[in-house]
Symmetry: C2
Subunit: 187 residues, 2 copies
DNA sequence: CCACCGGTGTGATGTAGGTCACCGGATACT
DNA sequence: AGTATCCGGTGACCTACATCACACCGGTGG
């Protein structure tokens, strides 16, 4: 699992053995089981998480109790309630396991220490943040321009595996439609 | 206008006079007038822009010819079609002046050179990218959870000045509703 | 074996918002 | 002045999707 993290980092910045050891020393590995929460709404957000294996949902629950899924975090994803993480305020989102999951945790102080100790990783995080913000913009555009059916078809095309792994109810909460409408789209 | 850029950078990372001079040498200042395009769909995207003054829209036009506004770029904003910029592919978005506008331009090679020459600025861009991606996530959430009316009221609360500066038609294209519905919301 | 529950389909009905068509006031161009 | 173009309001109608209600199936645990 260390190896996987190393390859992930090295897809962006090459690292010597010593550099990787230094980086690794800032992370801690943890395992969670289905239905466990890494982040709960209203609680502090200690870490950002790199997902080694498993699947999680990043979700907001509105006043009416309805769930809205911001993203599914799969293998090789970074996930957290980044607003709450960076500002050290209570979470407005929950991060919950949909499957048994292994992650590397990075606390905020460790994140800052790591960037200071190894500026290369600052480049890595800059790269990830840039990609993340481009993806988010794409999703905004897709919410602005396309119908529920089109978004579902896009999702099928881009993440066919996900559609298998996840109950339709959750896909609906991700796409921004009701369970029932999603069900009727297959026709 | 140099002073404004300097203050903007220094809100995140302090700079010596020499450092700022070095940074500044990578930018070029330009002025555009209302209705001019900094980026056109289908064209290459030479630069990222820091807006000194004025107002622009970042917009996508769909097959039906309808405009969807991803963001309004105001004073102190960074804007571009970042996907096209970073991947050096043709733009899928247009960036057009809504008012006479002054910007600093940063080409992609200059961006890389600047980060290499002055790692502090890497930290600056990381900071901006992080904020940008948090804001985008917030907007996704707002599109998933709230009605047109609520989004309009949020916009009124958060950017009252913008609502004055911009025709309602464009606000509608930003909020993801038709001009007509937005017009009826005031009631 | 049965009760329960998570996941899914489907009908009936309600509604937010889209679309089309038209109008009237304000600039702006010549 | 006169005309076009932008901007915004409003009525009539339509459609995509939400909501509510119910029914079915396949576990899983007492």
């Amino acid at each position: 699992m260390e190896q996987q993290l190393r390859e992930h980092l090295e897809q962006v910045v090459p690292l010597t053995d010593e550099e990787f050891a230094l980086a690794l020393s800032h992370f801690s590995g943890r395992r969670f089981r289905k239905h466990q929460f890494l982040i709960q709404e209203g609680h502090p957000v200690p870490c950002a998480y790199y997902v080694v294996s498993g699947l999680l949902k990043l979700v907001h629950t509105d006043e009416a109790g309805k769930q809205h899924i911001l993203s599914f975090a799969m293998e090789d994803w970074w996930e957290s309630d980044f607003r709450a993480y960076h500002t050290q305020t209570p979470a407005s989102l929950a991060l919950e396991c949909l499957e048994d999951t292994a992650v590397f945790c990075l606390t905020l102080p460790d994140y800052h220490r790591l960037c200071a100790a190894l500026p290369k990783l600052e480049r890595f995080f800059l790269h990830k943040a840039t990609l993340g913000s481009m993806a988010a913009q794409q999703r905004i555009l897709s919410l602005l321009t396309t119908s529920a059916r089109q978004r579902y078809e896009q999702l099928l095309a881009q993440h066919p595996a996900l559609v298998q792994r996840v109950p339709k109810t959750l896909l609906a909460a991700y796409l921004g439609v009701s369970r029932e409408t999603l069900s009727r789209l297959s026709a």
